[in-house]
């Protein structure tokens, strides 16, 4: 599927996303405290921590919904902080949401087609006049969206209304939509939340398949078994600060991490 393939032009193991001492407070409460970590090219990195630790806030900082008060966020060497969300998407960072944010009045296919927006050009006038090149572009958008739907396992369900899909499929749809933007880095915010074990397994396979395409992943998850299986590296957040970082086995044994979690979810 050339339509969805992407050629890397950076070497693996190079830093892709780097957070340098990022801090943000909300009305006096320090939500994110001096957070630094790196996601390298081709890596699947997990961001874990108790509820309220600041994980989704970090996602919002990376994707431009929030701006850090201190520190820098670099993507491929260029600063991201202060950029508008749509510009960050154009740079190659895409995401899903903790609570699914689909375009409910549109079909599944149309949702993914919106994902193609950032890589396509047809403007108001050209679209209004239906110039030949815009029609070709629309056809291409449609084909690519179909391909991404198939890739995540929703092939054939394009015509259904996004709001009518079951949650598991909605999460997959959000992933397809994010993938359609041709990101270098995909941020997944609790993609397994609400999924049954079968769906979680399929999700795991999908995550690996995404990495095969050369897309790096930063993932927030509460499902520990999924995280352990899938992550190359884990960053642990507690009360807004990084308390551990390293390969899964190491992090699992780290006493500070165990303490933070009060012992749940760490059964082998």
């Amino acid at each position: 599927m050339e339509a969805v393939g992407k050629i890397l032009n950076t070497a693996p193991q190079d830093p892709l996303l780097t957070l340098h001492h990022v801090s943000l407070s909300f009305g006096g409460l320090l939500a994110v405290k001096d957070v630094s970590f790196t996601v390298t090219v081709g890596q699947i990195k997990a961001l874990i921590g108790p509820n309220g630790a600041g994980k989704t806030t970090l996602f919002n900082l990376i994707t431009g919904i929030l701006t850090p008060e201190q520190g820098a966020i670099l993507f491929q060497g260029q600063p991201l902080q202060g950029m508008a969300p749509h510009a960050i998407a154009a740079r190659g960072v895409s995401r899903t949401f903790q609570i699914v944010q689909l375009f409910n009045h549109m079909t599944a296919l149309e949702n993914v087609m919106v994902g193609r927006h950032v890589r396509t050009r047809a403007g108001l006038v050209a679209g209004g006049l239906r110039l030949p090149w815009t029609r070709r572009e629309e056809a291409a958008i449609r084909d690519q969206a179909d391909a991404w739907l198939a890739f995540v396992g929703l092939g054939g369900r394009g015509a259904e209304r996004a709001a009518n899909l079951p949650l598991g499929h909605q999460r997959l749809l959000e992933i397809a939509r994010a993938l359609a933007t041709e990101p270098r880095l995909l941020l997944l915010d609790e993609p397994a939340a609400g999924l049954d074990p079968v769906e979680t397994d399929r999700l795991m396979e999908l995550i690996f398949a995404i990495r095969e395409r050369g897309i790096s992943i930063l993932l927030v998850e509460h499902d520990m078994s999924l995280t352990m299986e899938v992550a190359d590296d884990i960053v642990v957040l507690d009360y807004g600060s990084v308390i551990a970082e390293g390969p899964p086995r190491e992090v699992q044994r780290n006493p500070a991490v165990i303490a933070a979690y009060l012992g749940t979810d760490w059964a082998q």
Binding site: S94, E110, V114, V118, G127, L129, T134, E138
Partner: protein, 319 residues
């Protein structure tokens, strides 16, 4: 895929227009139908803003007025060519829309609604106060008609053809926009601004763009209105008309181009045909607005269809 039916539809529309202009003689019908056409252009533009982009404007009559007065003043007082004056109106409205839109579209919900309302009122007051230019509350007379190749288009039939040809083009343009990449982005913004932006849609810029486009539609309608009536007065461009336009959008169904047609047509015709409606016009408009927004927020047609489907579904459940 959709080209053939569109072209056929276009051909049919043009044929109908030609037939109408040949068959119908009564000036009153022309005035009414021309008014419907003008309102359709206005309502379709407003619907792009309200229904698709999810914004609100309670001051849209201001742009209608800006187009009308720009064209009217330039042609009546300064003998500018009507076509040029029309373009001038577009430029003026577009510029004003940009100026107002940039700060206003950052506002949310009520604040945007009130800002648009305030803007509409200010423009209306300007129309009444700059009497040396606009003729004040009693209006501006002596506006010439459009000219093609030296022929003045001042018969009811000529105005009809100009207006309704414009309507046809506007409808085509709008249907295309809605189906296009930009239309999709607009609907995305309406459903989830945050997700749309995360997918690379420049929401602030797009909202501003649609605001300007809807202002341009209104300006165009205003100029055509001025040339067809040869007289304009501020009373046509006040708050009440802005509210009527919103009612037409709401009744026709937000985010439905054909719905706009329906809403504009119905609410323009009804006061004319129902004399009692005419007297009770204000009350009924208010009532319609309230009832439709409370019970059929997706518009009259869509709402009734939904109700129908619901009844069908209930009945099939009983068997």
């Amino acid at each position: 895929m959709r080209r053939a039916p569109r072209l056929i539809g276009l051909a049919l529309a043009l044929a109908t227009l030609a037939a109408f202009s040949l068959a119908v003689r009564n000036t009153y019908y022309y005035t009414l139908v021309n008014q419907i056409g003008i309102n359709i252009i206005l309502v379709v533009g407003l619907n792009l803003l309200i229904g698709y982009a999810g914004q609100i404007s309670l001051g849209h009559a201001a742009f209608f007025g800006l187009g009308a007065y720009a064209s009217g003043i330039l042609t009546a007082t300064y003998q500018v060519d009507p076509w040029l004056a029309l373009v001038a109106g577009l430029l003026l409205s577009g510029a004003v829309a940009l100026l107002i839109g940039i700060p206003a579209l950052k506002l949310k919900g009520y604040y945007l609604a009130m800002a648009s309302l305030g803007f509409g009122i200010i423009v209306y007051i300007i129309f009444t106060q700059l009497s040396s230019l606009t003729g004040g509350p009693s209006g501006l007379i002596g506006i010439p008609s459009l000219k093609i190749a030296g022929h003045s288009l001042n018969s009811p039939q000529a105005n009809f053809l100009v207006i309704w040809l414009t309507v046809t083009l506007i409808l085509l343009l709008s249907l295309n926009i809605v189906d296009s990449r930009v239309g999709r982005a607009l609907r995305a913004i309406h459903d989830s601004d945050i997700a749309a932006q995360a997918m690379g849609v420049n929401a602030p810029r797009l909202k501003l763009l649609i605001f300007v486009v809807s202002a341009l539609y209104a300006s165009l309608a205003g100029s055509l209105f001025a040339y067809a009536s040869n007289f304009i007065a501020p009373s046509s461009f006040g708050v009440m008309f802005s509210i009527k336009l919103v009612t037409m959008v709401v009744v026709g169904g937000m985010a439905s181009i054909w719905g706009s047609l329906f809403g504009a047509a119905v609410l323009t015709v009804l006061p004319e045909f129902l004399a009692f409606f005419h007297d009770y016009e204000i009350v009924i408009f208010g009532l319609i607005l309230m009832l439709v927004m409370i019970f059929l927020p997706r518009g009259l047609v869509r709402g009734l269809l939904d109700l129908w489907e619901y009844r069908q579904w209930k009945q099939s459940g009983k068997s």
